[in-house]
Symmetry: C2
Subunit: 219 residues, 2 copies
């Protein structure tokens, strides 16, 4: 199939330069690499996960990779996109992150049963700088589509971080809280369970819900 | 500092072969790449996140990367490990995943305040094959340390997947449920909130709790 994606785990010898050699072969096959993870840095063997978009089928690439002296084995696997899908990230204080997660997980369950694939990822954190860094880093997380800020007071550099990640296309939902973060968000929701549900609805292709069509953005 | 890690976002021209060129320069500096994400595949510019372990400082590498014709900019950022830390993955049915998440997030909050960094990631899923694939894929997720299976009936290929990921060093906690998965897990817990709390305690360096030292493995 043209424009197909293949995911593989390559077991290789260890050391610097391995990825350079693998990517050289992939580039010769016009492969566009979407994601790479180095899974283990053991003493004798290294396992590398690669997600590659290819203009043609993967057979020729797989054969050439298997023939490389550094390669001990190539296993074709499902892409992480196929398994874990889109990600919602919830950041803030433990009590509120937990309640938003309850709503988001429950709603994601309903959509995943109908063929969607949505994961709900969370981290409880304290402190303006720590939170601002975590917000900015969401833009570097693979498959992240929406961010929920779940707390009681957030502003300052967290607000600037929210504006940064929104400008990169991320949807940001904020609980109704003290501080300037709600002013910077796409959507403000008072009930944390509803905030989780609405965020899933906003990114689910199986839902009839669009933030652009809402007549108000504070609930 | 010797053995230091650097994380950077490289803005480059687009197309196959970019990663091959970047990794060539990194290999010449004896850099060991831990993680790569291709962040955007826009028409004119591509952003690549790279996490690199270096024997010496990063200055020489950064200067050489910045001088490459394909490179438009290099931004040094925090590593995802520094920001999101260890990951617990909760997989299963929505109602139970949500309750395990409540316990895990609340307990992670308490440890993160004391300097730990633990994220709690979840996906609600249905079906033996879907669940088995999601379990096996946890071994390909960066920074994943523990898996919680939250459901009422899991067995068959899910049990084999649990044994696979345990053999790769992942801690597996199961709710007390029907099916063969509890027999294959490191720890079986009946209350979902406690299952979340215990899993965080097991991977937190700030906790005095070790599964090896427990006198029973079913609670």
């Amino acid at each position: 199939m043209a424009g197909d994606s293949v995911a593989l785990v390559a077991t290789t010898t260890t050391g610097p330069g391995i990825l350079h050699q693998l990517t050289g072969v992939i580039a010769r096959h016009q492969g566009d690499i979407a994601s790479v993870e180095i899974l283990e840095g053991g003493p004798d063997a290294s396992r590398t996960y690669l997600e590659i978009k290819l203009p043609d089928g993967a057979d020729a690439l797989l054969a050439e990779l298997r023939a490389m002296p550094i390669v001990q084995g190539i296993e074709v696997v499902q892409t992480l996109q196929r398994i874990y899908g889109k990600r919602i990230i919830i950041i803030g204080g433990g009590a509120q992150v937990g309640q938003v997660a309850i709503g988001a997980i429950s709603e994601a369950d309903r959509h995943n049963i109908r063929g969607e694939l949505i994961s709900v990822d969370t981290i409880p954190l304290v402190g303006e700088q720590t939170l601002a860094e975590a917000v900015r880093a969401v833009a570097r997380l693979p498959r992240a589509r929406a961010l929920v800020l779940a707390g009681s007071l957030m502003g300052g550099d967290i607000e600037r971080a929210v504006r940064d990640v929104r400008s990169r296309g991320l949807l940001v939902v904020s609980l109704n809280m003290a501080g300037s973060v709600p002013d910077a968000a796409d959507l403000v929701v008072t009930d944390p369970v509803q905030a989780g549900v609405m965020t899933v609805m906003a990114i689910a292709d199986t839902a009839k819900f669009s933030i652009e069509r809402l007549k108000r953005r504070v609930f």
